[in-house]
């Protein structure tokens, strides 16, 4: 099921690096970066999370909003 995910990582990422998270838009602010995009399914999500891990990035939060428009924060610290 397609959901829009927002992933926030510590540190401001360059646009180039952001491009490697295909399909996600990058917003930098105050020492963190937010990656937002439509994620097709859980397999894709875990691929993104793995990439974050491979880069040595610190995940600050992950939250989602599905079609219904409800907001469900899943904070990961």
């Amino acid at each position: 099921m397609v959901r829009e995910y927002s992933l926030v990582v510590d540190g401001e990422l360059s646009d180039e690096l952001g491009n490697s998270f295909a399909g996600m838009t990058l917003t930098r602010s105050e020492g963190t970066t937010m990656l937002v995009g439509q994620v097709r399914d859980q397999a894709e999500l875990h691929g993104l999370l793995q990439r974050i891990s491979n880069l040595g990035l610190t995940l600050l939060s992950a939250s989602t909003r599905d079609e219904g428009g409800g907001q469900g924060p899943l904070s990961a610290h």
Binding site: D10, N19, E30, G56
Partner: protein, 753 residues
């Protein structure tokens, strides 16, 4: 891409030497007494876990500690292709064998021997290590790539059986799913995590000021430490970078005020201090990841890769060298940024590099590495070509590689390579546990047949053979598929004939045609090339064993079953469904001979292999056989549990043939055994709660009404009822009431007689 394959000796996929090479120790590193001591403290522990993100110096720390102790070292760097216990332990056993030749020999022999579960070769390896007598350290690096349950379970098993002289160190970016909890609780686990691996301010000072001779004040060091949070890779990069700039202090100040992601910032600025040519080289080499100078030269059109790599390594610039084999590795963190940067500068460069690497590696028989590069190049055609060229070896030795490739290729692509699809389907069938993938592949073959109207006879025969093998839902269809497979093979795909006959024979057995199954099996045995068709040969023998056992010819059955196992021993397949079939056959033979303990062991193993997300006839069959043996051994609860699972699976399949008959027989046997166990006195008396329900069972009340009367949910009532049936040794409400009455369990006042 049909090839007529003339393979007298199956070629084996070579082991990647690079995976067995430990990284070389570097001179001039900051001595990290603290970290070494933490690793030393693990001497009493069964398992040492070093877990942390990339760039935390995990590999370096372990390597330095190993050379400090001068202990024998068996190092394996794992990757996604090692998600198969046979392959994983083949690497480990090989590494151990290189410590001293012969230590891993028995284990390696067993690893080619498929009928036994992975515990057997691991035991042999542990024995070999114990024989060595001196301390031996086994290091598994990059364990985050291992996600297969069986692999992880085998590592747990090894930890539990490690000799006192051995240590197992697991290095991973994430905490692996091993039994860490219990190990932690009992103090048998030593951990080294990011917090311990991070540099302390003192260590940062040591690195930056003492080692790198940077002219930095305490405040600058503090800034660097704070901003990097002690991340070792970042600090080391900083030390290299700052030596190359004119105004170190100014650079640190800028860095301190910047918010950019540290690793990227530092990689970038350090990189900028290099010469243009070096930068070009480094960016391109990063796309390769792991390489030899020869590979680099070939892919990058250079002749100086050897000196470039050596120089970079010496200067600690993003490249490290492996201990032997001439392999170099680009630090993974840097590689990430480099590839982004390269793509920005020259969009097509990474793909071209991967493409060339894929071809170079494929030409040298390094198939798995070649396919990985092809996949990364997005060159699905190239990937499919390489896979198609080598699909036979991949099918035989590649573990689940073919299935992974099949998944990586979209249907549109895959459908153009029916041979690959057929091989992948065979692997899926042989490995077990991939029923859904197998069905997808068979559907693709149907589509290929429809769209192209010409798929190679080999692919066609194999497709039908796989269908026959599955016997999944419908033995009759399996028989038809088997017959078609045989016909096609006879006509124009002799290479598949033995396997086709084996599948046909098995389908016939399951459909109850013992004589025909026997005949088909023997036809296979008469094939002139039978000795070179190990999987089909072994499968035939398993089926013949079953037929013989059914007829009561146990001697003949035993011969066939043992032969099946022996064949698989020489064939180098690992953890396969065919091996499980051999186990099942042996189990049946043992059961026939009255050796129930052995029978249970073999059948239990086979049952595990056949477990899958989807119901299957063969799994139900194995559950039933297992239930029978357990019943005979007096393990009535376990027997009942297996029988119930078998019944559930059958219900899902809506099957009504001989397996159904078997299950019904076994159910009766269990019931009789339970009755015998509880005849006379009720050995396990009903609880007061159960008695309350029992009393009401004697009435006309429904389950729901009983629940209402007793203030219980219907589910609870049913649960009590099941328990009552079990204790009374009955199967129905009326029987329960009758028996309870006979035993005087009913409260007379309520009895509605």
């Amino acid at each position: 891409m049909a090839k007529t394959l003339d393979i007298p000796n199956p070629s084996e996929l070579p082991l990647a030497e690079a995976k067995l090479a430990a990284p070389r120790t570097r001179a001039g590193m900051v001595e990290r007494r603290r970290v070494v001591e933490a690793l030393e403290a693990g001497d009493e522990a069964a398992l040492t876990l070093v877990a942390g993100p990339p760039g935390y110096g995990k590999t370096t720390a372990v390597r330095a500690w190993c050379s400090g102790r001068d202990a024998a070292l068996a190092w394996v760097t794992l990757d996604a292709g090692d998600n198969d216990p046979g392959r994983l332990w083949t690497y480990v056993a090989t590494a151990v064998d290189r410590v001293r030749q012969g230590l891993g020999r028995r284990a390696l022999k067993r690893l080619g021997f498929v009928g036994a579960p992975i515990e057997a070769p691991v035991d042999e390896l542990m024995n070999g290590i114990a024989d060595y007598g001196e301390t031996l350290v086994i290091v598994l690096d990059d364990v985050q790539t291992v996600v297969d349950q069986d692999c992880l379970a085998s590592i747990d098993y090894a930890v539990a059986h490690l000799p006192a002289t051995a240590r197992l160190v697991v290095i991973s970016r994430t905490d692996p799913t091993l039994g860490l909890g219990p190990l932690r609780a009992s103090g048998a686990l030593t951990e080294l995590r990011a917090d311990e691996l991070a540099f302390t301010p003192a260590e940062a000072h040591e690195l930056l000021v003492k080692k790198a001779h940077l002219d930095l004040g305490a405040e600058d060091v503090e800034t660097l430490w704070r901003r990097t949070e002690g991340w070792p890779a970042a600090l080391i990069l900083a030390s290299i970078w700052l030596r190359r700039v004119d105004d170190a202090h100014g650079a640190v100040r800028d860095f301190g005020g910047d918010h950019r992601f540290v690793a990227e910032y530092l990689s970038h600025v350090t990189f900028q201090t290099l010469d243009e040519d070096v930068r070009r080289f480094l960016l391109r080499v990063s796309a390769l990841g792991r390489c030899t100078p020869e590979l680099c030269d070939a892919v990058l059109d250079r002749s100086d890769s050897a000196s470039m790599l050596t120089e970079l390594e010496r200067a600690n610039l993003f490249v490290s060298r492996l201990e032997h084999g001439g392999w170099f590795r680009v630090h993974s963190l840097f590689a990430e940024f480099a590839v982004s940067e390269l793509t920005r500068l020259d969009h097509d460069a990474p793909a071209e590099i991967h493409r060339r690497a894929a071809r170079w590696l494929a030409a040298r028989g390094l198939v798995i590495e070649a396919t990985e590069h092809a996949a990364q190049a997005g060159e699905l055609d190239l990937l499919a070509d390489i896979v198609a060229e080598h699909h036979f070896e991949l099918m035989r030795d590649g573990g689940d590689a073919l299935i992974r490739f099949a998944r990586a290729l979209p249907d549109e692509q895959l459908v153009r390579y029916p041979d690959v699809v057929a091989s992948a389907a065979t692997v899926a069938a042989c490995l077990g546990g991939h029923t859904l993938e197998q069905r997808r592949l068979l559907r693709l073959l149907d589509r290929a047949r429809a769209e192209r109207a010409e798929i190679s006879p080999w692919a066609d025969a194999i497709a039908r053979m796989v269908l026959a093998l599955s016997v999944d839902t419908d033995p009759e269809n399996a028989v038809v598929a088997g017959r078609q497979a045989v016909e096609t093979s006879e006509e124009s795909a002799d290479l598949a004939l033995v396997a086709a006959l084996a599948a046909y024979s098995r389908a016939l057995y399951f459909d109850g045609h013992l004589d025909e199954a026997w005949a088909a099996g023997h036809r296979a045995l008469e094939h002139p090339d039978i000795e070179h068709r190990a999987p089909g040969h072994a499968h035939v023998r398993s089926t013949l064993a079953l037929v013989a056992a059914d007829r009561g010819h146990l001697g003949s059955a035993r011969k066939h079953a043992e032969k099946a196992r022996e064949i698989l021993g020489g064939a180098g397949l690992s953890r396969s469904w065919i091996g499980a079939n051999a186990s099942a056959a042996l189990g049946v033979v043992h059961a026939g001979e009255g050796d129930d303990a052995e029978a249970q062991r073999e059948l239990a193993y086979a049952e595990r292999v056949f477990r899958d997300e989807v119901a299957s006839l063969q799994h139900a069959w194995l559950l039933a056989l297992l239930a029978r043996v357990r019943c005979r051994r007096g393990r009535l609860d376990e027997a009942e549990s297996s029988a119930r699972l078998a019944r559930e699976e059958l219900d899902e399949l809506a099957h009504d043939g001989r397996v159904a008959t078997l299950v019904a027989e076994v159910e009766r046997e269990i019931e009789q055994a339970m009755n015998r166990a509880s005849s006379g006195d009720v050995l396990d008396p009903p609880t007061p709660a159960e008695l309350a329900v029992l009393d009401l069972l004697a009435s006309e009340l429904s389950v729901r009404q009983i629940g209402e009367r007793l203030f219980l949910s219907p589910n609870t009532v049913r649960s009590h009822t099941r328990s009552i049936y079990r204790k009374l040794g009955v199967n129905s409400r009326t029987d329960a009431v009758a028996r309870a009455d006979a035993l005087g369990l009913l409260a007379k006042a309520e009895s509605p007689m």
